[in-house]
């Protein structure tokens, strides 16, 4: 059961990344990442500082999910995409406010805060970043 159940502290401690895209920037090699790591995955440096990542980017790859995991059935079908932010940092995110058939590679997107996961009838309702087509 706990494969999809989530506690309040488990979500709370990820809030900097999930609410405002706080990532990390390696002070030695410049590599940026989300979430922030204590150790840079590229060069091994321990000098990684928090940084607010850009909230705009583009879709580089995506899939339409028809068989959702427990807790996400409500959104089916939905799109999971690899997004490249304006500074080159990549992350995995759900797309919102878009029909799956309208999604294209290279599509410009921006971050919004949305309800993401409900852990059962009496459980936590977790919010986090999703990306929608850029409103120009």
């Amino acid at each position: 059961m706990w494969a999809y159940w989530q506690s309040v502290p488990a979500h709370w401690r990820e809030i900097p990344a999930r609410y405002r895209l706080e990532g990390g920037e390696c002070q030695d090699c410049g590599y940026r990442m989300i979430p922030r790591e204590d150790i840079c995955p590229k060069c091994g440096s321990r000098n990684v500082k928090p940084i607010d990542l850009p909230r705009k980017g583009k879709v580089v790859n995506y899939t339409v999910i028809w068989n959702a995991p427990r807790g996400y059935e409500y959104y089916t079908p939905y799109v999971i995409a690899i997004i490249e932010l304006e500074d080159g940092t990549r992350l995995t995110a759900q797309l919102t406010d878009v029909e799956p058939s309208d999604v294209k590679e290279g599509m410009e997107v921006e971050m919004v805060l949305r309800k993401t996961r409900v852990s059962g009838e009496s459980g936590l309702i977790a919010y986090s970043y999703k990306f929608r087509p850029l409103i120009k």
Partner: protein, 379 residues
């Protein structure tokens, strides 16, 4: 030197009447009877018993039900590579002198989750649950991203992916312990329901129960056949795929393969068959490319033209692989090594590759994020 000296398999499938303990005991008893002697250590492999069955401490659990109370026992987990990892640990116990004969038993009981949503959640614990799973990603979705990239890069279409499951199903017909022992029609593949575009149900391994056991010994003292573990190669990659440079290359496979060849000091030509970890059609293709059986982007042709057939030049998964033998995930690595053992000792029944002496097994956890290769030779 460590040898495989005994084997026992349960059929892979939906074992509604059998629990985790029944399956583990059934395979273990068969392996111990095949070997004919006792063991002094038990290494259990499993991935999902804590999630699905609410049972951990599988070392004690298995020996308690196996009538071996007192024997030292542990559980090893590395997602889909759990079984191969258990073998690696067992070899270490033997070569370090801690044990002389080790029972390695892999067991998984997945069908106690009766909905696909729950099974998907459980399997998706093999990816980064906080930054891939939390936004709604699944293990299948990660394979879908790889498949889309592969199609784009090499200009191949859905039909090109059918050759993989077609061969796996054809091979499984002859495999006594396989789950899906029926041929697949090309039109069934093309009509298969979408799971995560472009991945369909028939691109993926099924949900399975099963247990497999092997006995490892420092002597080739098995009465029914023996095989030497020539070498192991083992490498990892990032658990989250959005941090990877490429989705169509799996560098952990290359690293594990070159290490295994070097340690065994053999040429790749001397490998008679390849037992690979095909959680999806596309990872089956990329794995054969990383192992040098096909040029990049050309694996579909290898499978279409019979190159990977059981009687072809480089047989791949003569038992049907994860796709059709089935994927009781934490036990799968032990099934693979057990199948290779049966092959190189001439006991693979209908699945036998004629004259096979040396076999490769490749097990992978997550999306090739933990890759373990064994090279095994009959003695």
């Amino acid at each position: 030197m460590v040898y495989i000296v005994g084997v026992g398999l349960t059929p892979v499938g939906n074992h509604w009447s059998k629990s985790l303990r029944h399956l583990a005991v059934e395979a273990s008893v068969k392996a111990l009877e095949d070997y004919g002697k006792d063991v002094d250590y038990v290494v259990v492999s499993n991935m999902l018993s804590g999630v699905i069955n609410g049972q951990e401490n599988l070392g004690s659990y298995v020996v308690s039900h196996l009538g071996k109370i007192g024997t030292p026992a542990i559980k090893i987990e590395a997602a889909g590579a759990s079984g191969a990892a258990a073998s690696v640990v067992a070899q270490g116990l033997i070569s370090s002198g801690v044990a002389e004969r080790v029972l390695v038993v892999g067991v998984e009981k997945m069908t106690d989750y009766t909905s696909l949503e729950d099974t998907t959640s459980a399997l998706s614990t093999a990816i980064d649950s906080e930054y891939e799973g939390f936004p709604g990603g699944t293990l299948d979705a990660m394979h879908a991203l790889v498949m889309r990239e592969y199609m784009k890069k090499y200009g191949v279409n859905r039909e090109d992916f059918s050759y993989f499951p077609l061969l796996m199903h054809k091979n499984a017909v002859d495999t006594p312990h396989a789950q899906l022992r029926f041929k697949l029609k090309p039109e069934s593949y093309m009509r298969s329901p979408m799971i995560a575009e472009p991945i369909t149900l028939l691109d993926l391994a099924p949900v399975s129960d099963g247990a497999a056991a092997i006995v490892l010994s420092k002597e080739p003292d098995g009465p029914n056949g023996n095989a030497e573990i020539l070498s192991v190669g083992h490498a990892t990659d990032t658990i989250a795929i959005y941090r990877r440079e490429s989705l169509t290359e799996m560098p952990a496979i290359r690293a594990a393969f070159s290490e295994a060849l070097e340690r065994a000091n053999i040429e790749r030509d001397s490998i008679d068959l390849y037992n690979i970890h095909d959680y999806s059609s596309v990872i089956g293709y990329i794995t054969t490319e990383e192992l040098g059986l096909a040029e990049r982007g050309k694996a579909p042709e290898l499978f279409k033209n019979g190159g990977a057939d059981r009687d072809g030049p480089t047989p791949v998964n003569p038992e049907g692989g994860l796709k059709a033998r089935g994927n009781p995930v934490g036990a799968t690595g032990v099934y693979q090594i057990a199948e290779a053992f049966l092959q190189v000792t001439g006991r693979a029944e209908g699945a036998q590759v004629e004259g096979a002496k040396t076999a490769l097994t490749l097990s992978a956890g997550g999306l090739a994020s933990n890759v373990i290769i064994h090279l095994i030779r009959g003695v």
